[in-house]
């Protein structure tokens, strides 16, 4: 995975990007969730050994935050795509 296919700019060297961590949607109503569920959201990780949906940011390029599906054992990226702005942040 030396290359990442930025949805705006096309394939670029990984060093242009910042890794944003695994996709971890924020609970829609934080004040309504139980303490344990909230802790799970802020601390617990799937730490997937396999295909992981994750955030990347094109720091040295178009400054897009986008999503990628990457196999964490091979670093092969099967797909990069825009966050779907028709959805709510929390979907």
């Amino acid at each position: 995975m030396i290359h990442i296919d930025c949805p705006n700019c096309g394939p670029r060297n990984v060093q242009e990007f910042r890794y944003g961590g695994e996709y971890n949607p924020r609970p829609p109503e934080p004040m309504a969730v139980m303490a344990e569920e909230w802790t799970d959201y802020i601390f617990m990780q799937n730490n997937e050994q396999g295909l992981q949906k994750e955030w990347w940011y094109h720091r040295a390029g178009c400054q897009l935050w986008f999503l990628a599906e990457r196999h964490t054992k091979t670093n092969e990226i099967s797909r990069t795509y825009y966050w779907d702005n028709t959805k709510n942040k929390t979907d």
Binding site: M1, M31, A35, W38, I42, Y57, R59, W65, N88, K89
Partner: protein, 966 residues
């Protein structure tokens, strides 16, 4: 006296040296002659030098073996450069070459006495020795340590000059032998942009160092390469690593190439392998390819009376090569049953005796080869341990097989497995876009190599969609040819004997060491490697990995397949740190006023990526100027964000812990940001410039991170009606502070800047000294002050204009140190200094800014819990009495604990002597119950002495903030 080149042969057809010129260089203090094109080793060998180094553990003399930079035997020191491979480094005039790891000299190395005690020094002996008494271990360690290591470094060595270059290719071909050249030419013919890398100065690979009968295919291939228009050759360039997505690193001298290729063809050849027999490391024992390199590339005789120990055609080729160079071949010792072909007949006709089904049992010295003991193999290949022949010779040539140079294929996650038919580890399947050709895939026959190269070239271009894929018929034909080749690599590997048989030359690991290790339980290939250190040295397994797998399998009664392989990691050969590093590329960020600061004698300091003035000579005078008159500080490093749109108030409400909906146009507000854990991320002020336009500042160190943080939220659901632009570098920013600030400001503008027209916590756009500026009336210093933002291009002009207009007011520039004192007198926190990665605003005494009654904001859920549970620690101000030293930042706050111990209950985050108040002040973390009592005393531990301090709430200076509002 210059040493004579007694071993120099008459000119050889393909030699690389220029006999018209002479250069001299020194080795261990003696002067030697060389021709341009010679390597250090070839010139020394020409002069009759046999011993090039001493071995790592036993300090045994070692001579040339591979002549290809693969084995560790000729590592030398060239001036202050350690561990140079003498056999591949070209000689330069006046080069100062010295041997390594020998004392007092290469010839008489006292450390070789370790050999005498070797029965007490089995493999891993240091794990079993020096355990008790414990206090003696450091002493023994020093001795061990002194004995270790090869070359020397010098602290006097000056800076190196290195650079890097990016290359792009459709097809990158690694290795310029017949397969590589053929692959490159084919791919280029099909229209691919091709790069061909070869570690040697000239293309050709084994065609160049092999017999002159190979000239025909070589010149054909060279012509084809030269005529190819879209093929670029990089000679002297070793491809060092394969990384994901066909990203290669390659080194040539002081340059690192970083290569992006569409497809990679690996044609890296193979390493000829040593045979294990008694004294198989004696100088004069050489690999066939090594002997051939000396003869054909440099016109140097590797010896005068040779025997060839072989198991394949390569040994006979070497024999013929020696004979052609008028070197006597006494005998060819071939482990195979008799074979008849024209090459063999020719060698015998030229005077060599031949012993079929025989092999060598021992090389005899002293010091260098003088005799070889030969024994017989019976019908089952069993070895008779009694020597049958004793042959006088000074050169023992070993040609018993090859280990494919598959390092890059391993790195590319290729699957490589043992092929019993061929007795080699060959690629089984390779990832898409990676192809192998030539010896690395087991092909030793030149015509097969060329054909296989062509096929790889076609497959690579087909993979890229440039050409048609290979037809099934072509593929089948190629495979058939491949399989028909006779086996080149013997499985004999080891001839039992009585003396040392070296398996790993780098680390002096013997066959016996291997057996011992396995018997002790280090029986998997990885454990064996780690325990015995086999393959951990300079050659990284090139000379020993394959043999180790065979011997490990036998010792465990397992098959080679079950035993498996070890992987190869980059680099393929050792690369200097300087080459990896390239030029120093550590940039610093400078403000638009940087030159002015330096001209004014500022002491600059590193602040993140920025260089900032710490002070201009006297920080206390700078503090005084701000408190009494007026000062100017460069705060261009602040993060500056422009937010536009109707959604901004909602966004600010979500990312700050305080409220923003009602901030009026022209007003400024302090804001604190947290993450969802409730941890403080950053702080700054944000102004509402117009109904839908906002201007945010962040801390200097947080600028990039906060911009990206906000972008993330904007781009994942909170972005409606908000445009965000980072203008950190677009605007310069200065803070004009002090009681005279307004009077000075008025000098520079026609606008009304009176307290009524431009009150505290307001923002105004004004023209100052002709420059359009944005001003915020805020004050980190606690004085009447204006933060002035203007386009960076005008920064220097505006700064000078303010300084000039300020002269009558007694203006002084001030630096970070003065600012820290000034803010501390006001008890303002610095995020990242007074807080850390676990500080929340409740504990940091900023609960006042947290509005839990807002709608959803970042950190709300966690901060609610923290508020309910209450923090354990609190950030609070303190004072120390006059005459008491000011406790340094980082000191710990203690109380009496159990067993006469002092328990830590807090620590000092900020402290200074306040010149304004003339007392020691600071901020610290304390347990909440203590922190809440104004005036409570506590103790700070300083150099063994306890200092008493007092809790202080609120600002130390101007607690009601009146001076800000003047």
């Amino acid at each position: 006296m210059t040493q004579q080149a007694k071993n120099r042969l008459s000119p050889q057809p393909g030699e690389l040296i220029d006999r018209e010129k002479n250069i001299t260089f020194s080795f261990d203090g003696k002067t030697y002659q060389a021709y341009p094109g010679d390597t250090i080793a070839s010139a020394l060998a020409a002069a009759g030098v046999k011993v090039f180094s001493r071995s790592f553990k036993y300090h045994r003399p070692r001579g040339l073996m591979c002549c290809a930079g693969q084995c560790p035997n000729c590592l030398v020191q060239v001036a202050d450069e350690p561990n140079v491979r003498a056999c591949t480094r070209q000689v330069e005039a006046n080069m100062n070459v010295n041997s390594q790891n020998a004392w007092p000299s290469l010839k008489r190395d006292l450390m070789s006495l370790t050999s005498l005690g070797d029965r007490f020094l089995p493999v891993g002996f240091y794990y079993k020795a020096f355990i008790r008494p414990k206090f003696l271990w450091p002493f023994f360690e020093r001795i061990l340590r002194r004995a270790a290591g090869l070359g020397k470094v010098s602290s006097e060595t000056g800076l190196g000059r290195y650079d890097k270059q990016y290359l792009h290719a459709d097809v990158a071909v690694v290795g310029g032998g017949p397969a590589g050249m053929s692959a490159a030419v084919t791919a280029a013919e099909k229209g691919a942009r091709v790069i061909l890398f070869d570690e040697n100065p000239r293309l050709g690979g084994h065609l160049r160092y092999g017999l002159s009968s190979m000239e025909a295919p070589l010149s054909e291939l060279l012509d084809a390469v030269n005529q190819s228009s879209n093929l670029t050759v990089y000679p002297n360039t070793m491809v060092q690593g394969w990384y994901e997505d066909n990203w290669l690193s390659a080194a040539n001298g002081s340059r690192l190439y970083k290569v992006r290729a569409g497809s990679v063809i690996v044609a890296t050849g193979a390493y000829e392998q040593p045979l294990l027999f008694d004294n198989n490391d004696l100088p004069g024992v050489m690999l066939g390819s090594g002997a051939q390199r000396l003869i054909n590339l440099y016109g140097v005789a590797p010896g005068q009376r040779a025997i060839i120990v072989t198991a394949n055609q390569d040994g006979w080729l070497t024999a013929a090569n020696l004979q052609a160079a008028d070197i006597e071949v006494v005998a060819v010792i071939d482990e195979r049953p008799e074979i008849k072909d024209s090459l063999i007949q020719q060698v015998i006709a030229d005077g060599a005796a031949v012993l079929w089904k025989h092999t060598i049992i021992s090389a005899e010295g002293p010091g260098k080869v003088s005799r070889a003991l030969i024994t017989e193999l019976d019908g089952d290949g069993k070895i008779n341990s009694q020597a049958k022949y004793d042959i006088h010779c000074d050169l023992i040539v070993i040609s018993v097989g090859w280990a494919p140079a598959s390092g890059l294929l391993y790195q590319a996650n290729g699957s490589i497995a043992f092929d019993h038919e061929r007795s080699e580890f060959l690629p089984q399947s390779l990832p898409a876009g990676i192809f192998a050709a030539g010896r690395v895939s087991g092909s030793h026959n030149i015509s097969v190599q060329i054909e296989e190269g062509r096929s790889a070239g076609l497959q690579a271009t087909a993979f890229l969609g440039i050409s048609e894929p290979l037809t099934e018929a072509e593929r089948v034909g190629l495979n058939a040819q491949h399989v028909e080749e006779p086996r080149r690599t013997s499985e004999l590997v080891y001839v039992p004997g009585k003396k040392k048989q070296f398996l790993c030359f780098c680390e002096d690991v013997t066959k016996k060491d291997l057996d011992t290790s396995i018997a002790e339980g280090y029986d998997s290939i990885e454990l064996l490697k780690r325990y015995s250190t086999i393959s951990m040295g300079p050659c990284q397994g090139k000379m020993c990995s394959q043999n180790t797998i065979h011997l490990c399998a036998r010792a465990n009664n397992r098959t080679v397949e079950e035993t498996g392989t070890t992987t190869a990691r980059p680099p393929m050969s050792p690369v200097p740190l300087g080459v990896m590093a390239g030029q120093n590329m550590e940039p610093v960020r400078l403000s638009s006023v940087d030159d002015w600061h330096r001209a004014r004698g500022a002491k600059m300091m590193v602040a993140g990526l920025w260089m900032r003035p710490e002070h201009y000579g006297d920080p206390l005078a700078e503090v005084k100027a701000v408190r009494q008159r007026v000062g100017l500080i460069d705060v261009s490093t602040l993060g500056k964000l422009r937010l536009v749109g109707s959604g901004v108030p909602d966004l600010l409400d979500r990312i700050y812990v305080n409220k923003w909906q009602k901030l009026e146009v022209g007003r400024v507000r302090y804001g604190l940001m947290c993450n969802d854990e409730g941890i403080i991320l950053d702080d700054g002020v944000t102004a509402r410039i117009a109904e839908k336009e906002w201007y945010m500042t962040t801390t200097s160190s947080g600028a990039t991170g906060i911009y990206e943080w906000i972008q993330w939220w904007l781009q994942s659901g909170w972005g409606e009606g908000v445009q965000l632009t980072d203008i950190t570098e677009i605007n310069a920013a200065f803070n004009l502070a002090g009681p005279e600030a307004r009077s000075l400001l008025q000098e520079l503008t026609e606008a009304d800047v009176s307290n009524e027209a431009f009150p505290y916590m307001h923002a105004r756009d004004l023209t100052l000294a002709g420059v359009p500026c944005r001003l915020f009336r805020i004050g980190f210093t606690g004085e009447l002050s204006y933060e002035i933002h203007c386009p960076s291009g005008y920064g220097r002009h505006l700064w000078e204009a303010i300084m000039m207009a300020g002269e009558p007011f007694g203006i002084s520039p001030f630096g970070l140190e003065a600012q820290r004192i000034l803010r501390l007198e006001k008890a303002h926190i610095i995020v990242g200094q007074d807080t850390d990665a676990l500080s929340d605003p409740i504990a940091a005494d900023m609960a006042w800014s947290v509005k839990l009654d807002k709608e959803d904001f970042l950190g709300q859920r966690s901060l609610k819990r923290i508020t309910e549970e209450g923090p354990q620690q609190r950030l609070v101000g303190f004072k120390v009495k006059n005459g008491v030293p000011v406790p340094e930042e980082g000191l710990q706050i203690v109380q009496d604990g159990n067993e006469n111990r002092l328990d830590i209950i807090g620590w000092v985050t900020s402290s200074r002597r306040s010149p304004t108040l003339d007392e020691g002040i600071g901020l610290c973390w304390l347990p909440v119950d203590l922190a809440e009592q104004e005036g409570a005393t506590f103790t700070i531990f300083r150099e063994g002495v306890l200092i008493e301090a007092q809790v202080h709430h609120g600002p130390f200076y101007d607690p009601d903030g009146e001076r800000l509002k003047l």
